[in-house]
């Protein structure tokens, strides 16, 4: 009998997705799980893990195979997320996934030379890439960003700062969105800044509630001089390109929410089956069974919507509104299901050694990162013609 947790979504997956899942699972079990407890405590994952992930073909499942990526579709991205998330850390997942948001601009707008230089070495794990959009004074309001790139001869001189940047400490290159003119949306342009450039510095390593295995940083650009060859696409093409990247990022975060919720449900179930109180297991109490039933229903709800959106994306149908709906739904469900799982584990659920403790902290990021729930609702509202 297929599990109700997977029966509604199994139809979307082929043998090829299954084979990919087996490969991802092997990598997670042999490389990520043995180290994750330490990396979460250290709030840092060794850079060698990116190299190992690159060797195994684990980096960039949806980036083009010609550039060293997996060449997969949105459903491969879901499978990848579900399996990497089995390591129990949203932070590690996001660190290994930062190239999926950093590279699309170069893949879509870059020249073949730029792609050879900044995509292939990242998909192979030799270099780490980060995406720098958010600034201390502009987050949701992307077009309000102030980092400036000023043309001087064959160079641009970049000044400003970026914050909350995933993989910001490990990064060898940052895909930076900067202002090249005062036109609010039409004045934004992408640049690749190599982190060994004079004037670039990591101004702060940030300490976080969750996602601890991921290095998050504030970056500072002080007269950083980059050649015109580092500009990605024509001037002013940055905003539109960023909007293209968002759909995939939101699906990835929805998938992370689904995976967090499912793991929390499973851990809570196995705990409730063996923990006894007042002479019976926790599953002997109807209130626990009902809680678990509701948790499972929420997991299935989030997955059904997220898989349906992924399938639409796989078919090449744009669905930014539906992706925003999936992200909000999965984020809320990850929050409530991880909360309930902690409750079922009682004191153990509040202790660092349990997975649900960590996941309940990791889940809190989901309604914030990659566009807040409020911003998603703005997109949904517009899509509904409100």
């Amino acid at each position: 009998m297929t599990s109700p947790l997977t029966s509604l979504t199994a139809r979307y997956l082929t043998d090829e997705h299954d084979a990919f899942r087996a490969m991802c699972r092997r990598f997670t079990e042999s490389v990520l799980i043995p180290g994750i407890q330490q990396w979460e405590e250290d709030e840092f994952t060794p850079k060698d893990i990116w190299r190992q992930a690159g060797d195994a073909g684990m980096l960039g499942p949806t980036l083009p195979a010609e550039l060293g990526g997996g060449g997969g579709d949105a459903l491969h991205a879901l499978v990848w997320t579900e399996e990497v998330m089995r390591c129990g850390s949203g932070g590690l997942l996001s660190g290994l996934g930062s190239l999926e948001i950093a590279l699309p601009a170069i893949v879509h707008l870059g020249t073949p030379e730029q792609q050879e230089r900044w995509v292939r070495p990242v998909t192979s794990g030799q270099r780490v890439a980060a995406l720098g959009i958010t600034e201390p004074s502009a987050g949701s309001d992307v077009a309000g960003l102030r980092t400036r790139a000023v043309r001087e001869g064959d160079d641009y001189v970049i000044n400003g700062s970026k914050t909350f940047i995933t993989s910001g400490i490990h990064a060898d290159q940052v895909t930076v969105l900067a202002r090249t003119s005062d036109d609010r949306h039409g004045g934004l342009t992408f640049f690749v800044v190599q982190t060994d450039s004079p004037g670039f510095s990591v101004s702060k390593a940030l300490k976080k509630t969750g996602w601890r295995a991921s290095d998050t940083a504030e970056l500072s650009f002080d007269d950083v001089r980059v050649p015109v060859a580092n500009r990605i696409g024509a001037e002013g093409t940055g905003f539109v390109q960023l909007m293209r990247t968002f759909e995939g990022e939101r699906l990835a975060l929805a998938a992370q929410g689904c995976a967090i919720a499912q793991i929390c449900y499973e851990d809570a179930l196995s705990y409730a089956r063996q923990r006894t109180a007042f002479g019976k297991t926790l599953t002997g109490f109807q209130v626990t069974r009902h809680k678990l039933a509701t948790m499972a229903t929420r997991v299935v709800t989030a997955k059904a919507l997220t898989y349906a959106v992924a399938e639409q994306m796989r078919q090449g149908i744009a669905c930014p509104v539906e992706a925003a709906m999936a992200k909000n739904t999965a984020a809320d469900i990850a929050m409530t299901v991880s909360y309930d799982a902690v409750q079922i584990l009682g004191g153990a659920g509040y202790m660092r050694e349990t997975r649900v403790e960590r996941l309940s902290r990791d889940a809190r990021l989901l309604p914030i990162g990659g566009g807040t729930s409020e911003v998603m609702n703005e997109i949904i509202g517009k899509g509904l013609g409100l």
Binding site: M1, D15, E16, D18, A19, F20, A22, M23, R26, F27, D55, A56, G57, M58, P61, A65, G70, G71, G72, H76
Partner: protein
């Protein structure tokens, strides 16, 4: 040179094995199938050998059921093609039935070097590779931890216990069974998985191989399966190490009668 690899689809190590109601066989319901773990080392060694010396790698599997899904996954690791022997005549197969079918297929393809895992994770019989070699009239080296090929001559290292290694040299053809440590099996990257969909995979019946049901009739029949007896109560001996050790030996000798 054609290099063969015999692989077996076995229940995934996380599968729960159940016995049929009649007790005459194991139930296949709900079992997730995967290539037996030791076979992964065999595939990797074959592919590395091909990469070093040229030639092609052919996978072989034999079963009464459709193993093409697992075999297709294995093709993503670098082999060039596969032969899946599938026939109802293998429903009650024993080691010799499998070996007979595999040897025939290997012969038909003209392989001169064959790798297999050292054992399959389901039956654990460690019989098929030696039988295949015997039926082909080839030598066989088991539990190999290091393998080198130089033209037609090979060198195989096998661990014989106690940290002692045996080095065996000889000429092709040969059957080699892979021990853990022979290599580190590669990951099947997504583009390789996609490519594997187009690799030739031939499904053959026993008749296609020129075999009859009689040729593969099992000589071993399994009549009854029973789950292992429930573990009895655990006795915990109290006291210091010297007394409990003495008491443990006494009980093992006098009560359990195992010493």
């Amino acid at each position: 040179m054609k290099i063969g690899v015999c692989i077996k689809s076995t229940p995934d190590t996380s599968s729960r094995i159940q016995i049929n109601p009649g007790g005459d066989d194991l139930s296949e319901a709900g079992v997730k199938w995967a290539t037996s773990p030791y076979d992964m080392f065999a595939i990797e060694e074959a592919v590395q050998t091909k990469e070093a010396t040229g030639g092609e790698v052919i996978l072989f599997s034999a079963s009464h059921q459709d193993t093409s899904k697992e075999v297709r996954k294995a093709l993503a690791l670098g082999p060039d093609s596969a032969v899946c022997i599938q026939d109802d005549g293998l429903a009650k197969a024993d080691s010799l039935s499998f070996a007979t079918s595999l040897a025939k297929a290997i012969e038909a393809e003209g392989c001169t070097l064959v790798f297999t895992g050292k054992r399959a994770s389901d039956g654990n019989n460690i019989q098929v590779p030696a039988m295949v070699a015997e039926l082909l009239g080839w030598p066989h080296v088991s539990f190999v931890t290091d393998f080198e090929l130089d033209g037609e001559s090979f060198k195989a290292v096998r661990a014989v216990g106690g940290g002692v290694e045996e080095v065996i040299t000889g000429n092709l053809p040969v059957v080699i069974t892979a021990e853990r440590g022979l290599n580190s099996p590669r990951y099947a990257k997504l583009p390789m998985i996609v490519k594997a969909k187009k690799k030739p995979l031939a499904t053959k019946s026993l008749a296609d191989l020129g075999l009859t049901a009689d040729d593969v009739a099992p000589i071993v029949t399994l009549s009854n399966y029973e789950p292992p007896a429930e573990r009895g109560d655990c006795i915990i001996l109290e006291g210091d190490a010297a007394t409990t050790a003495k008491e443990l030996v006494r009980r093992l000798r006098e009560e359990a009668k195992v010493l």
